[in-house]
């Protein structure tokens, strides 16, 4: 399992770069993870989604599907794909330091 250093702290991630222990994640790590995933700047809208991902994970133990994410976060699917072009559920989960969601929808 590779280790990464974000915001000066060493964390464990999977081969794909997802946190293995979401408790190691802190907000100040997010911009660097985002840059590595191709998102230069995190806007307020990005943060709304990231915080929602953290919240969903804390409640349910897994990240939401894109559909559930859109329905409950108040960010439309169109905007989610504009914010996270390489796949909203996957990318937002990575930046939010939670495991990769495994849903098919």
């Amino acid at each position: 399992m590779p280790d990464m250093t974000y915001a000066g702290t060493q964390v464990s991630v999977t081969e794909e770069g997802f946190f293995t222990d979401p408790d190691q994640w802190r907000e100040e790590m997010a911009p660097q993870i985002a840059r590595e995933a191709g998102i230069e700047t995190l806007t307020d809208r990005h943060w709304q989604v990231i915080k929602f991902m953290r919240h969903e994970y804390a409640e349910k133990g897994t990240g939401p599907s894109v559909r559930a994410l859109s329905k409950t976060s108040g960010v439309s699917i169109k905007e989610l794909y504009e914010l996270f072009p390489k796949g909203p559920a996957k990318l937002a989960a990575k930046i939010a330091g939670i495991p990769k969601p495994r849903g098919c929808i």
Partner: protein
Amino acid sequence: MSIDAAIASGVIANGKIEKVSIIVSKGSLEGIYPALIMANGARAEGIEANLFFTFFGLDAIHKARHEHIKLATVGNPGLHMATWAGGLPGVSSVMTHYLANKMEALDIPPIPEFIEMIADTGAGLYGCKASVDLFGLARDDLIDQVKDIITVGEFYDLAAGGQIIFT
């Protein structure tokens, strides 16, 4: 083409699929859903996706019909029911309704919502010109999310450099 040649030519980048073009040729519920799930799943992975609706698959993007897509209960051995029973009036509707409830529980949207959602992900929806002509349809018969009605040749241009999936 060898894998090395495919990587060199950009068809495969880093061993990952970059683009899929999915042909939807059937108008039954079990004919349409797999294609929609594949397309939506591709976009969720950051893969470019196009859908090409041909023959009875056009019903999936037909304004008046896409809310009424039914499960085939005749000639469908996967249902494990007698063929004559599948042909009784109302059986297809009841089975479709039953499946719709199970899908909703699994967060799988109904076909009209699913198609709209897939268009919102940035996937391209296209109607097949030959089929539109065959069935006497016009652009207005199809949902607004459809980008264009295109020929087979134009489909191949669109699909160039990616994978093609036929359903």
